[in-house]
Symmetry: C2
Subunit: 136 residues, 2 copies
């Protein structure tokens, strides 16, 4: 095993960030809030990060895309491998929350569409019926 191979498993923060497609400052931020472990600082030189941290950050980013916030992701990671049932419960809760968000947005959409229709009817009104109906 060459020194180069070792290096790929012992990343500096810059390379870690590069592989994980995040900013270096983001990694430090995740460490600050306890979402990612910070390796001990060696006597000599810079901190070394294992390859697994790349995966962990990618996990975080995927979970964010699913609508989990960082606190929820922290909780998920703390649950870890052991409490599969709890993880599923959380995923289901999140799915339900998303359903509600969708419903709210659909209501907004409907209301907006109604307003826009109002606006279409009165062509050259002195006052915009859309604004008027929001005021009413």
């Amino acid at each position: 095993m060459s020194k180069l191979d070792m290096d790929q498993n012992e990343l500096t923060i810059g390379r870690l960030a590069e592989f994980a497609n995040v900013n270096v400052e983001t990694v430090r931020y995740y460490q600050r809030i306890g979402l990612v472990d910070e390796p001990e600082k060696p006597e000599q030189g810079f901190r070394k990060y294992p390859n697994s941290t790349v995966k962990q950050i990618k996990f975080i980013k995927r979970a964010q895309q699913l609508g989990f916030n960082l606190q929820e992701i922290t909780d998920l990671l703390e649950l870890g491998d052991s409490h599969c049932h709890d993880v599923r419960i959380r995923a289901e809760l999140k799915r339900d929350k998303i359903s509600k968000q969708i419903k709210d947005l659909q209501d907004m959409q409907t209301a907006l569409t109604n307003l826009i229709d109002t606006c279409h009817t009165g062509k050259t009104e002195p006052k915009c019926p859309l604004v008027e109906s929001l005021f009413a």
Copy 2:
């Protein structure tokens, strides 16, 4: 017209906030960002707000519920009565944005549901398949 009637049309900030169902600090905040006009401070006593400000704040709150942010609401109010066509365009743009948000959330929902199904298949796995598949 009694003095009491006058008072109802000349509100203090506290009564304004009460009628508009917002916090006094929120009114001040809206004034700070130029969303609501701040009346001149009289030589003697406190500022007086016209009843129309109540309507204006309620408009803001309704528009927020439709997904407009305060900057967009500022723009809408500046357009005022005159440019009905522009108002309609903005409403349509907002509606389109909401459509996209709904689509994104539906994608999240699908992804979460798939993960939850994965979780159901492996009953008593040593590692949670849901977490594993997020890591993969």
